[in-house]
Symmetry: C2
Subunit: 253 residues, 2 copies
DNA sequence: ACCTGAACACCGTTCAAGT
DNA sequence: ACCTGAACACCGTTCAAGT
């Protein structure tokens, strides 16, 4: 079933289907080499260091040669996102709630290890083999709990989105990573102070009170691991509520 | 209190503090004019249409003149994010759960109206007056439910993240917006078909089954308003669970 | 068929010079 | 003091020419 569709060439290559070239010299590269080089540059210098020229020179080729393998820089970024993802944790034998927590935390950790991922705009549904493996494992972990497939996929979206949000927060406000620095702000401490100076208590009554109460002081307000767990448990409680509603025989909404 | 800190000039301008120039000709522009022009271009042509040159020509000035008002293009993008945000809904008299739903949906709608927002990488904590107003109202809506300020802020993060995730999904997979098109995929239907062709059922057992079961067919799988509500209720159930735990006198975790 | 090198049309940003 | 215009160092991408 499912008539074979014409896929964009990068996606084909992502799945290991490099075209078999019959005539002419053998290719010197493949998508993996190019993408790995790009990832190494991004890890070392950030996404700004990644240009067609810099990637090409790292793999020892002229910039224009890359277009034999990648249709555009966009394509290259797409490939980077899939390649940088490692294997998902094994759900076998784990209660669904434990696995979902593990899964989400692992996603967040990947984002923190490669902060440039947060800058690659496209939060597209996965098409690459590695990202899709994560989705597969999450579905497997939710097998038999009484949700339908669409619901499980929605759960996956919500958890992925949360991992993204939290990672973005940590890399900007927290951690000393120099993302927020060019705004002249170095951490949660500063952030609270800046806000305190800016806010008119009449226009921003609730927020002013929170800031003056120290809600953003130190690691408490926005950035530590406890905060991550907080939001995660929020979501998991929601999932649990849904599951028990389904178990008690209620209709889908 | 809170010693006045040196803020980056854009942020100062965001708060309406244009520098009072004593000598020389009066400035012909202000941050608002420049930012509005940039927003109009982005709405019409997408973020790729926004260059210092295009913005400058729209306000009738040489490209280099913009640097009197904005330190860099980055700054301009930051200003765009704040300026594009409208006033938050009024929480007065609404139950917290209704307001949170309204607030999150309104955030999502803003993102859908200005899809280029999703491409502006930085998911930074808000520093501009408009985005901070949204935070203020959410805190107000949660007044008296028994959460502390840090928890309320965490709730805001989770909801904002969810709005972002959902909006990204809708603009890519759904709606006919041409984001996903250059991957050759036009909607949820196609997405399911493509996946069906790609997946090896042995390597992706759960996902293959879901796809073949039609979980991604039509609007059901990933993209409609029901899906948005689904995730939202998930989160709100989580918040409600937390609130009732607090109400029954449990300690903070 | 792969790869190169020259070339094109653009970027963001600087700086000296005008008013 | 604001704004301009020339200039700089880069981009991503094309295409004809080499092998």
């Amino acid at each position: 079933m499912a008539q074979e569709r014409a896929l964009p060439p990068v996606v084909e290559r992502l799945w290991g289907r490099e075209p078999v070239s019959r005539r002419g010299p053998r290719p010197r590269l493949d998508l993996g080499m190019i993408t790995s080089a790009a990832i190494e540059i991004a890890d070392a210098e950030g996404l700004t260091g990644v240009s067609m020229a810099s990637v090409a020179s790292r793999v020892g080729v002229a910039a224009t040669a890359l277009y034999r393998y990648v249709g555009s820089k966009e394509d290259l970024l797409t490939a980077m996102v899939d390649f940088v993802v490692s294997a998902p944790p094994d759900p076998a034998g784990r209660p669904w709630r434990d696995y979902l927590a593990l899964w989400t935390r692992a996603q967040r950790d990947t984002l923190l290890e490669h902060p440039w991922l947060l800058q690659i705009a496209r939060l597209t549904p996965p098409l690459g083999p590695r990202r899709l493996l994560w989705l597969d494992r999450l579905l497997a972990a939710l097998d038999g709990v009484g949700l339908d497939d669409g619901e499980k996929i929605n759960v996956a979206s919500a958890l992925t989105g949360y991992a993204l949000t939290d990672a973005a927060l940590v890399t900007t406000v927290g951690g000393g990573e120099p993302q927020f620095d060019d705004a002249g702000i170095e951490g949660a401490d500063d952030y609270g102070e800046v806000l305190a100076g800016l806010l008119d208590p009449e226009a921003y009554p609730a927020l002013s009170a929170a800031v003056r109460g120290g809600a953003l002081r130190g690691a408490e307000g926005w950035v530590d691991d406890g905060d991550f767990r907080f939001g995660l448990e929020l979501l998991l409680d929601g999932v649990e509520a849904l599951i028990s509603r389904r178990a008690s025989g209620e209709d889908a909404g």
